[in-house]
């Protein structure tokens, strides 16, 4: 996703690095005002998907044929995709509901609506279109993992377990369904089956950090502290910016009498948990203010502080779509990437600054510091010289 930032700001992406359409900046066409968009989003989120019309059963075969002809998909689907690309899920709900009122039960729209509701953490609403989708196209059960996730999140663990099993029957090597099935069994009290499934998942994806964390949790609950510790350490190493592994580590190490390590893990957990809480708050606000550059910049700062490099790159890509060509954003990117420990990304951001903003004294002040920290004396001196020259009074 750093690529999207670089493409947005300048032509410095390396070979093979391309921005996806979902990440590319979207031009603001003259259209509704911010207030109108806000009202539209609020109205969309007041909608109840249960009230969407149904297609008569005799029309279902035709709808399914239509689904196969993507070029003929009804108007509105593209608008929803654009809204999603612009991180505007509420507007996507508006577009998809409008489409489903014109073309009831159009399967791709049902599916997309379910996924969008899931992303909005409206799990009961997510289940409605996904259940309808499955009713129309039961052979496409493999595409409805989100339905099982929704049941799980709603506490309907038996339904979640059954649906994960259906998904896995159709697509046996679906890691997330396997994880979900394991957790459903865990929630239903079948620890042995949960452990077995987590082990299977780790055979499929040995670096699945969350599977290691859940295995650690399960072993910890069963008082197998040494084994739990090994799994928690593995989870932490694979995903060091995720609070949960640190939380478990602190608990396990504490009970093993490793008090210094436990204290350090707890401190790290508390830092990351506070960051995660702020991120949740920012993301909730961004549902209504998807084009708020200050909110996205704050997201960048928080991810940088917690060292969550994938999330930081995603936030930078989002910011670059909002503020293409922004010098301030480029400066922020260099500092944030370096602070997060993403030296490869920081190096690209430094190169971008040098290429695109060479006329600005501030660029060279930042680069002087960057090269100094990289111990590149020659370039440090060059940057310092440029800075002094550009900042000297004329």
């Amino acid at each position: 996703m750093i690529a999207a930032l670089l493409l947005a700001l300048g032509p410095l992406a390396g070979p093979g690095v391309r921005a996806s359409s979902a990440q590319a900046p979207v031009a603001q066409a003259a259209g509704p005002t911010a207030a109108q968009l806000d009202a539209l989003r609020r109205a969309a989120l007041r909608r109840d998907p249960r009230a969407l019309p149904r297609a008569p059963r005799e029309h279902w075969p035709e709808l399914l044929r239509w689904t196969a002809e993507r070029e003929r998909w009804p108007e509105g689907f593209g608008a929803a995709a654009r809204a999603l690309a612009e991180h505007d899920p509420a507007r996507a709900v508006h577009e998809l509901c409008a489409l489903l009122e014109r073309v009831p039960d159009f399967p791709p729209a049902l599916h997309q609506l379910g996924v969008v509701y899931f992303r909005l953490q409206r799990y009961g609403d997510a289940a409605v279109p996904l259940e309808r989708f499955l009713e129309l196209a039961p052979e496409r059960v493999a595409e409805t993992r989100a339905l099982a996730h929704a049941y799980y999140t709603l506490g309907r663990y038996a339904e979640a377990r059954d649906h994960y099993q259906r998904v896995l029957a159709a697509e046996p090597r679906t890691a997330e369904a396997m994880r979900g099935l394991a957790l459903s069994h865990l929630r239903l009290g079948d620890n042995a089956r949960a452990q077995e499934l987590l082990q299977q998942l780790l055979q499929l994806e040995p670096e699945h950090a969350d599977a290691h964390a859940w295995l650690a949790q399960l072993l910890y609950d069963e008082e197998q502290l040494e084994a739990a510790l090994a799994e928690a350490l593995r989870a932490r190493d694979l995903a060091p910016a995720v609070p949960r592994a640190w939380f478990l580590l602190g608990r396990i190490q504490g009970e093993l009498g490793q008090h210094d390590a436990a204290r350090a893990a707890r401190e790290r957990y508390e830092t990351l948990a506070a960051a995660a809480q702020e991120v949740r708050g920012l993301e909730a606000r961004l549902v209504f203010e998807p084009r708020s550059a200050p909110l996205v910049r704050r997201l960048i700062e928080v991810h940088a502080a917690s060292g969550d490099i994938p999330a930081l790159r995603a936030a930078l890509a989002r910011a670059s779509a909002l503020e293409p060509g922004s010098f301030e954003l480029a400066c922020l990117a260099l500092g944030a990437l370096e602070r997060a420990g993403d030296l490869e990304g920081a190096a690209r951001a430094a190169a971008l600054l040098e290429e695109r903003f060479a006329e600005r004294a501030e660029t060279w002040r930042l680069l002087e510091g960057w090269f100094a920290r990289r111990k590149d004396l020659q370039r440090q001196l060059q940057a310092g010289e440029r800075y002094r020259r550009l900042s000297a009074p004329r």
């Binding site: 506490g155 309907r156 929630r187 009290g189």
Partner: protein
């Protein structure tokens, strides 16, 4: 959401509901208020409190209902609605107490705490408020005497739940007050005015974004006055939190009283009594601060009892919608493990927002059940996409005897917006009845319909100490029946803004006789009684 809520089965016609509402005749016309039904401010959403105990010494359970106020009254400088005392008739119904029990309105009442503060052998009352905590001394069963002005509890801020304990074992009762947050109606934004949103809907602001308050510990002088010892006891070591529920327990089994505090949207606290006048906060190490995923929950009410007969008490905590209620089971290492899901307590609680609760043997079959009073804080919960609703059914989690709970409707299955609740045997038939407060409206009295037959026996133990606190708060009652051990602690803390009588209730199932009953008094003295007949209320006096 309607589908989700409908998954909670109403009690079968064959068995009938576990509890039957008799509030219409038990407490006619008694209502509570907590601000405006619109709930524009957080002050308006937590509800009032109640205390159940025998205040007049006639052997029947009485009731104090703590009422709130409205922001309009606050703006006009008018007092809140006064707390009201009702004397029990011993059949589940109440009558208004006479003039001597009447109290003036305070600022905005919230909760209660119960204990013999002045050592005269009568149960006194503390009432928490948005404002100073009030102290009411019991005039030998003849009425209340308010001593707030000289009680030494300070100006107060926003006390929610409080608990009475003898933390320093000096025989004089102390008071712990959980505080919520700094609330100034002039400065806190109203719903719809500042972008406070939940699931896309404008809602009242808080608690996130508002300033949490530290809990306070007051050392009792034994005469109805107290001194703030929060600092010397070590309470500032924990970050202030949005405190809502309090429970007394001996979490580490070292024979002194510890405290568990359920915090809203912040980590829960487990205060371990060090026996030297100080406490250490050990919620994280103890495994009760967060859920198993390491997420802080929005916790409200607390139930506490020894669920699995291992001699250590376990904790049940009610939480916000979207979070499961948490069941923390004590282990041999005196830390807790969350066992909500495998015991069946997690899934059915996720759409609910729980408040008043308790772990108790509600059906007298010899194992512990759980009741939960539910109701959301946001009227906007009825909007689409919330996965919950404003009014919610109250729940009974019935223990199936095989370490799992099966959920059913507590009474008629109707959805309500409930808050605090407390259990006591109101009709003297040996089972525990329930008084439940709504956020606003009629106070409910729920009569337990447990069968009283050969398979459903009971025992209530009322310890009376010879020294110090006569009501023996902190005493430990252990019962052996049919080879099975049950343990209770004598407490008055009711978990969420509520107080219960200082006695231990046991369901015994088919056992008509208890093999062995042991009462360990706070003084350390123990009294053992062999072969105790079931189905009685047994006063156990400490040897002089």
């Amino acid at each position: 959401m309607r589908l989700l809520l409908s998954l909670i089965p109403a009690a079968t016609a064959l068995e009938g509901p576990a509890f039957v509402e008799i509030g219409g005749r038990a407490l006619p016309g008694v209502e509570v208020t907590c601000g405006s039904p619109r709930k524009d401010y957080i002050l308006e959403v937590n509800g009032g409190g109640l205390a159940l105990a025998d205040f007049d010494g006639d052997g029947r359970c009485d009731l104090v209902v703590v009422d709130g106020s409205t922001l309009e009254r606050v703006a006009k400088g008018e007092p809140g609605f006064p707390p009201r005392t009702f004397l029990g008739n011993g059949d589940g119904t109440f009558r208004p107490a006479g003039e001597a029990w009447q109290l003036a309105g305070g600022r905005w009442g919230t909760g209660t705490a119960l204990g013999d503060f002045d050592g005269d052998g009568w149960l006194d009352l503390a009432i928490t408020q948005w404002g100073p905590t009030r102290v009411l001394l019991n005039r030998a069963g003849k009425g209340w005497r308010e001593v707030t002005a000289t009680a030494g509890l300070g100006a107060g801020s926003w006390g929610t739940s409080a608990a009475v304990l003898d933390f320093d074992r000096d025989g004089k009762l102390d008071l712990f007050v959980a505080n919520y947050l700094q609330f100034d109606p002039e400065r806190v934004a109203a719903r719809g005015s500042s972008g406070c949103r939940w699931k896309g809907h404008d809602v009242m602001c808080g608690p996130e974004g508002l300033v949490p308050l530290a809990a306070q510990l007051f050392r009792g002088a034994g005469d109805g006055s107290f001194a703030d010892v929060s600092a010397s006891a070590g309470l500032p070591a924990a970050k202030p939190a949005f405190g809502l529920g309090v429970m007394t327990l001996d979490a580490d089994l070292d024979d002194d009283t510890d405290l568990f505090v359920a915090n809203d949207s912040t980590a829960n606290h487990l205060w371990l009594n060090q026996g030297d006048g100080t406490f250490l906060e050990r919620g994280y190490d103890g495994g009760v601060s967060h859920d198993a995923n390491g997420k802080e929950q929005a916790s409200m009410g607390i139930g506490c009892a020894d669920w699995n007969g291992d001699g250590a008490e376990d904790l049940f905590v009610t939480n916000f919608s979207g979070e499961n209620n948490a069941f923390y089971v004590s282990t041999k290492k005196r830390v807790f493990r969350e066992r909500s899901a495998p015991t069946g307590l997690a899934g059915p609680s996720i759409p609910m927002l729980g408040w008043g609760t308790a772990l108790a043997d509600l059906d007298l079959d010899g194992d512990l059940d759980v009741f939960v009073l539910n109701g959301h804080v946001y009227p906007e919960a009825d909007q689409p996409g919330t996965d919950t609703s404003y009014a919610q059914p109250d729940q009974l989690y019935r223990n199936d005897g095989a370490q799992r709970f099966v959920v059913e409707a507590l009474s008629d299955g109707r959805r309500r917006v409930s808050r605090a609740g407390a259990l006591a045997d109101l009709d003297l038939d040996g089972d525990l009845d329930l008084v439940a407060l709504p956020i606003e409206g009629a106070v409910r009295v729920l009569q337990n319909q447990a069968p009283h037959d050969a398979s459903h026996h009971w025992l209530t133990v009322v310890p009376r100490a010879a020294r110090g606190d006569r009501f023996a708060l902190g005493a430990r009652v252990t019962l052996l029946s049919g080879g099975k051990q049950q343990v209770r602690t004598i407490r008055t803390a009711g978990g969420y803004q509520a107080s219960v009588p200082p006695e231990a209730h046991f369901g015994l199932g088919a056992a008509q006789e208890i093999e062995r009953l042991e009462v360990r008094f706070p003084s350390g003295a123990t009294r053992v009684i062999e072969k105790v007949r079931a189905d009685q209320r047994l006063v156990v006096q400490e040897a002089p």
